[in-house]
């Protein structure tokens, strides 16, 4: 194995916890049972690395095989890096009939037409998602396997999730994608986060949503905590109403785990003319950036609204996160959240 292969493998081993690495090797079909068992994951990473290098050299495996392993590893531990969502627009009539083999072939051929040196790997995950690993090169340099771009796409849906893509490569990817999926345009979905599962669930509506219903919802029953007979809530129906509204706005159960929501304000400054003369006299919009951050933003919002810290009904600015499936907004003078797209 050459130096570069060594570096690539080393990086993979170093970045992955031992247990995850073990699971990844288990999923990789190339290793024999004996080989898999021979690796001792309790020893330090350096030793594990040496053992793996030995196995790779013994079988004559190269960079190609290491990237395979890396891809399996990434698919299993997708919550790394920053994922951005894109939405394709204007589907052609045959967009719904695109099939995996056809997509694979087309995507690869389109991309290699655009970029001379590019290495593309496509694999289907268990949840029907297509995972694409792209190592970019240019006219003079071979594909850089140290900085691959990962793309996740579910066929028949307009959404594409991308991580570590730089602006130079974006046009190529975009063009290859729309040509091979039967759409005519693509736009930034203004949604990003560290968890692929979260942004996917939000856009694909795979989290539990609550809708108004004429029947007694399980929410109100959940809310009735059995407590001491001497303690009584005077405004208990308010609490259940708030919970209902909070859950309608942000979802029930485990909500998609977003980390941030950013609002870019481009509105006029409103305030007492006497206290802040310089601000109110200003021509043009008052620019300001509001950023909410939390380990689980939607859960925090839901908790705030249901406990009464934030007022209900929930402000459309906040409920737009789930309603529109995005976490970056530009708020202009019209008051409604809009975007630059």
């Amino acid at each position: 194995m050459d130096d570069f292969g060594r570096r690539l493998l080393q990086r993979l081993v170093r970045r992955t916890p031992a247990q995850a690495l073990k699971a990844t090797l288990g999923k990789w079909e190339r290793l024999t049972v004996a080989q898999r068992q021979s690796v001792d994951f309790t020893q330090p990473k350096v030793a594990v690395m040496e053992q793996l290098v030995a196995i790779f050299e013994e079988n004559g495996w190269t960079v190609k095989h290491i990237t395979e392993l890396e891809m399996i590893n990434y698919m299993e531990n997708a919550n790394r890096g920053m994922w951005h969502a894109f939405q394709m627009t204007d589907p052609k009539d045959d967009a719904n009939a695109v099939e995996m083999m056809q997509f694979k072939e087309q995507f690869k051929s389109h991309l290699s037409e655009l970029v001379r040196h590019v290495s593309v790997k496509i694999k289907k995950h268990t949840d029907e998602a297509l995972w694409i690993r792209i190592a970019w090169g240019d006219s003079y340099s071979p594909p850089n396997h140290l900085k691959p771009t990962y793309v996740v796409h579910h066929l028949q849906t307009p959404y594409v999730f991308v991580t570590s893509l730089n602006s130079k490569q974006k046009p190529f990817l975009v063009q290859a994608l729309i040509l091979s999926t039967g759409y005519q345009g693509i736009k930034d979905a203004n949604l990003s986060g560290q968890k692929l599962t979260a942004i996917r669930d939000l856009l694909m509506k795979q989290y539990q949503q609550i809708f108004p219903s004429k029947y007694n919802s399980p929410l109100t029953e959940k809310n009735e905590t059995v407590s001491n007979p001497h303690i009584e809530r005077e405004q208990s129906e308010h609490a259940s109403k708030r919970l209902q509204m909070a859950c309608e706005a942000f979802g029930d159960g485990i909500v998609p785990q977003l980390q941030t929501a950013v609002y870019k304000l481009e509105t006029k400054f409103r305030g007492d003319a006497n206290t802040n003369r310089t601000m109110t006299k200003r021509e043009g919009p008052f620019r300001c950036l509001v950023k909410f951050a939390s380990t689980n933003l939607l859960e925090s919002f839901r908790e705030c609204a249901s406990s009464g810290i934030a007022s209900t009904p929930v402000s459309p600015l906040l409920s737009s996160i789930t309603l529109k499936g995005r976490n970056y907004f530009v708020v202009t003078e019209n008051g409604l959240p809009s975007s630059q797209t």
């Binding site: 407590s227 001491n228 001497h230 303690i231 009584e232 809530r233 005077e234 405004q235 129906e237 308010h238 609490a239 406990s307 009464g308 810290i309």
Partner: protein
């Protein structure tokens, strides 16, 4: 709306200290807190008292809903829990005050401030809080809501006031106690501190 209607409306929504008969060896406390967070812990601790039957009513703000009017016992003490890190908390308590009958302010109202030690609390808010309590002749208690010890000591203090306010302590009355415990503003509160 006619003036007559308005007065009826106000009368109905006003909480009165003596409109109902007291129950034997029982005291009722009303905890008003906008966030509805600390009140639950406090309530659980308050009902644990074995010497008297303590009834706790929890509310987010006043006025209280009319539907519960029948089932609600006479309320002996109204406690406004104010989280000093939140401006809304103080504003909400202020707005609720006008739904109390003036009779309550003779020793049957007290303020309980939490998070007073938090560094993000502006001194102006603390001062506003103290002024409010002083102007209404009410005691202002400070409590620690994060630790069990804090909850216990707040409970102890509230129980003492509650028992007096409910008339369960033979030698003391609410008015008498409040004249001793009410919040007073230090004379230098409005003066800049750097002189």
């Amino acid at each position: 709306m006619k003036v007559g209607d308005l007065s009826v409306y106000i009368d109905m929504s006003l909480l009165k200290p003596f409109s109902k008969l007291p129950a034997l060896n029982a005291a009722t406390i009303l905890l008003v807190e906008r966030e509805e967070r600390f009140q639950q812990n406090l309530a659980d601790a308050l009902v644990g008292d074995t010497t008297v039957t303590v009834n706790v009513r929890l509310a987010k703000s006043l006025p209280l809903p009319m539907d519960n009017e029948e089932s609600r016992p006479r309320i002996d003490l109204v406690v406004f829990i104010i989280n000093l890190t939140s401006e809304l908390s103080l504003k909400s308590a202020e707005a609720s005050l006008k739904y109390l009958d003036p009779g309550y302010f003779l020793g049957k109202v007290c303020f309980l401030a939490t998070n007073a030690r938090n560094t993000s609390v502006p001194t102006e808010r603390l001062d506003a809080m103290r002024k409010l309590a002083a102007s209404l002749h009410c005691p202002l208690l400070f409590a620690e809501d994060q630790t069990p010890d804090g909850v216990n000591s707040a409970t102890e203090r509230l129980l003492t006031v509650l028992k007096v306010a409910a008339g369960l302590v033979p030698t003391a009355t609410a008015l008498y106690l409040s004249s001793l415990t009410r919040c007073t503003i230090p004379p230098d509160i409005d003066q800049p501190s750097f002189e």
